[in-house]
Symmetry: C2
Subunit: 348 residues, 2 copies
Amino acid sequence: MIYKGRPSAGFEPDNFLQPNASMNSYALRYQHYKNIVEQRLQRCIAKSEPRTLYHPVKYVLSGGGKRIRPLLVILSCEAVGGTLRYAVNAAVAIEILHNFTLVHDDIMDNASSRRGRATVHTRWDTNIAILVGDELVALAYRELLKTNSPHIARVADIFTEGVVEVCEGQMYDKDFETRNNVSLNDYMLMIGKKTGKMVSVASEMGAVIGGGTASEARALKLYGTHVGRAFQIQDDLLDVIADEKEFGKAIGGDIVEGKKTFLLIEAYSRARGSDKKLLRTVITRGGTSRKHIGAVRDIYERCGVIDLARQSIAKNIAHANAQLSRLRKSPAREMLFWFSHMLLNRNS
Amino acid sequence: MIYKGRPSAGFEPDNFLQPNASMNSYALRYQHYKNIVEQRLQRCIAKSEPRTLYHPVKYVLSGGGKRIRPLLVILSCEAVGGTLRYAVNAAVAIEILHNFTLVHDDIMDNASSRRGRATVHTRWDTNIAILVGDELVALAYRELLKTNSPHIARVADIFTEGVVEVCEGQMYDKDFETRNNVSLNDYMLMIGKKTGKMVSVASEMGAVIGGGTASEARALKLYGTHVGRAFQIQDDLLDVIADEKEFGKAIGGDIVEGKKTFLLIEAYSRARGSDKKLLRTVITRGGTSRKHIGAVRDIYERCGVIDLARQSIAKNIAHANAQLSRLRKSPAREMLFWFSHMLLNRNS
């Protein structure tokens, strides 16, 4: 059992992880933090009028998810000597903000389902989905501003730069849909803003709330940047190589939609002859039919971009871990090592 | 001339208004503050990538407007002894936030033009308008958080409650479109959130940034609440009685759209016989044709709701002014009196 004492009111004594905690205890602790975040997400929407707004807000926030951004806020705070108590509001805030991006992105992407449930604009309508997203931003700031920290202004700055970049990243992503000349650099810039930034915001905010030094905050921010990058390339990879049962959805979706992923961009620059011709069709036509998924995946294998993606993920995780090595030893730091390892080996 | 000294870099010596400033000098000072806000609005979007996002953002922020919320932030700050220098970021922030609500509301209302220009979702598309609105929220917080004040956390709280209530107000407004039983209380609740809240947020933030006492901040917040209410009822009234040339758009738009305004709700509860029948048609059919505008306006006159609206506006302005009387005398306080007087007599 990993608890030193009985957890009360969602909190437990600081540093409840033993120095030599096992993989299993990390998973338990992750689950414990997830539970706290879930409780808090429910609590922050206790207010219920107008119901037409708060009902879909509640629907969104109870939709589950990995809650990895909150975990990063909490662990980063602990890794510099802070405690859960101070990090929990920012942890909940960034999860709410993440859900805002999902609701608005789903409108823009015409996505009808997410995590096995109808999206807000499908179940209600686009106007409500716009408003629900807006309200989520406000609720995220409300939660963030409850943070009891002398550094709250800086935390709010970091959070706000995250919102700015998420919007920029989403705009690049939409732009790329109709552009046929997206380079790997373009892709990395886009994905760094759209996905990566929120991960580095999480770890940086945690470090600042925990009272970390400038170099600790910088190390944890960079940890988040590399983890975020690895996470996205892994996402691109899983779309092609995952086991459908574990993945929870049909594979090859990115190929069908013609999404300019790490794999498609790199494969197109390496392929020759009929391979290049097929990829060009996928790019210029903005996608292809499901029957071509196998052929495209074979091209990916043949020109080595599956291995390349694996190497890039491993390299980013190594960079992330190198940043952790700058921090003093602590159970939270060890759990951050575990966390990046877990991302590297995830199946969904 | 009202300046004590030469304004430099957009700022001028504190309290440049003479104690016995004339109406004309208030108008000049209003213009001066507007100019500063316009400059700042341009500066905050100097960043330009991706252009597909920042071009429409710039378009929105250069669209003009009365800029009354920034004026209230600045004057409220000055009225408690603060200076423009400290209020200007919050002033710009609330104007950006106001523009966010306009962009998203225009999508929801299917509005094709605003202030004589195409709306964002018309000139570009709905997806871009959603993202532009989101980005404006982020830019508003970025600007707000530049505020140099020991009370920045409280200022951010006030601002955030404004965003929450604006979303709630917009949701009520959308709900009311399809409800036939909207009472005056419902209407006042909705409009207080959708329009009024941002006005009281402006005056309250100004007071807090200026270092006002709790009772000064409360008085200025309430001043904003009453002014906001008067402003909205005046809006409803102008739609019916304004001179079209000065108003800048065709009158009777609310009647055509069947908007549940102060006038329609009150008239419906007072009218009898064929008058009530016509109003019921406007309400249940969600509007009427332009040819009925005259008849509806005649009913409004007959059942006295035009006078009632005028009385309500005057009463709210009186309440607003009573709050000002709680503050110590200052040129800024006098200008706030002028400001409410000006609202009472506006034609557009």
